[in-house]
Symmetry: C2
């Protein structure tokens, strides 16, 4: 009975770390969500130390929110869903981190998003935010498409859309491409007189900077601009193909999350759009389920 | 008479600094080319200190080749054509550099390439190597198109071609795109089993790494691969539009230089291809003409 009571009181922290922010949620089985915290960028591919700092900041804020003492971090069992750790090198590097938690279980942000979206049940998830990718879990098997990173992958994402817009505008302003309303929109946004004025400000910028331009593309597409419509449709077509590829695994549910999930909805193939259902829980809760599940499996192995 | 003789003996150094290498040539009006030197990458946008190091290395090697003493660097009048200095901030930063030369005149690598290609006369030049851009000088007026940098600009360049190839291969290997022979070529090149194996190796790589893949695209296009042909044709179409835009200024000559100039030739629009003539002098000599011209203008102003 004492063991059971202690287990019920075990505190979990679920951490969802992506390219622009890191969310942490503290949870106990008996009392539910106790506190949440928000940190900065946590994609270790784009800055390893920065990612660890964001993880620790969101952890500390969640602990304060939950009314925990600083040293109680050693009592937490952590589930981490992190962008970039599909790369084996990064996975190993994070696992070698001298973390402060009682135990830490690590997987990709896609995996925890999928677990959260379907509350631990089988299903598929497409993320379309700064980046894009697809993931499904069916009968213990996982599949994973896209998510190859800016600028070579992540088609249909905000960063991809922003980059395509900049490319189209630079061609238009050079008199080498189709006229587009995006040119005036970006010239105003960047307070730039010409192509070089825009190019200079975007040179070497990370995916998050390009993703900020996606709203201009969506707005221009809605207003009927031919170039913007072609960009959004090309991106949405890729997302539709991604969804169909995931549905080949016969997941019972399909969810789309991320900032572009809602605006892209009407551009998707109708047979895909009709399959999209809302996420039941956020990725941070998926990270907690992941840790609980891994812990149970771990206990079984040890016991 | 003494002044004239001294002026004839004035040594010039012409430096052409681009994304992958830096070439220096030492020249005197009476004796012609005295020595040459080759250094590493010298695009200050991709590494300011590195660019200065490459400039100094190529200078030292050219001086040694010319049989000059180290301290004679202070006697050289330098003409610099550098990538990236179309950006006003970078131009100013280089001009503030505590350089060792007697005098230094700075312009873009495009400008010096154009001066060299037409031996100081009016003309237009398109560079298609790692990057792409177009430039023309006609009746003292210059025009400049493209060259907005990887990955937002420089269409039709080696880096653009390599990036398009990686994008197509990642889609193919995910089962989301058209089949292409490029997939087997890149899997073998990267010793990768799947899309992620390629994506991981190319993540965050600079334009020069993508440009190294252009040869696979050109080879596959020549062998009839539909995807590769579409990439090369799209790039060549952009270069043809760039050429036509430059020809609107009525330059007497049009030259294409850079590693892709020759392989792209047969993909260009016929009315463009027929206009392309060889470069008369290399960009380093263009940098020397630029310095001589600037010096003469400067003397006139002072005198």
């Amino acid at each position: 009975m004492i063991a059971t009571s202690a287990q019920q009181e075990q505190l979990f922290i679920g951490i969802d770390g992506g390219g622009t922010k890191c969310r942490a949620t503290i949870y106990s089985a008996s009392r539910g969500v106790l506190g949440t915290g928000l940190g900065g960028p946590a994609n270790p591919l784009h800055g390893f130390e920065r990612a660890l700092e964001s993880i620790m900041l969101s952890t500390q804020l969640a602990m304060r929110d939950a009314g925990l003492r600083v040293e109680q971090v050693h009592e937490l069992i952590a589930g981490l869903g992190l962008a970039g750790v599909n790369l084996p090198n990064l996975y190993d590097k994070i696992m070698q981190w001298d973390h402060p938690f009682k135990q830490m279980f690590l997987t990709t942000d896609l995996h925890t998003a999928c677990i959260g979206a379907h509350e631990g049940q089988d299903g598929a998830v497409i993320i379309t935010g700064t980046g894009s990718c697809g993931f499904a879990i069916v009968n213990g098997q996982t599949v994973n498409y896209g998510g190859h990173g800016f600028a070579q992958g992540d088609k249909g994402s905000g960063a991809w859309m922003g980059l395509e817009a900049v490319k189209a505008v630079l061609e238009d302003l050079d008199g080498l491409g189709q006229k587009t309303a995006l040119s005036d929109a970006l010239k105003e946004h960047f307070q730039a007189k010409n192509a070089m004025g825009i190019a200079e400000q975007m040179a070497g910028q990370p995916s998050s900077s390009y993703a900020k331009l996606a709203r201009f593309v969506l707005a221009a597409a809605d207003a009927g601009d031919v170039v913007a419509k072609a960009i959004v449709q090309e991106g949405a077509d890729y997302i539709s193909r991604l969804a169909k590829r995931l549905l080949e695994s016969n997941p019972p549910r399909l969810t789309m999350i991320g900032g572009l999930a809602e605006p892209l909805q009407k551009w998707l193939a109708p047979d895909v759009a009709i399959r999209v259902e809302p996420a039941i829980q956020p990725p941070e809760m998926g990270a907690i389920y992941f840790a609980q599940h891994a812990l149970a499996a771990h206990s079984k192995e040890v016991g």
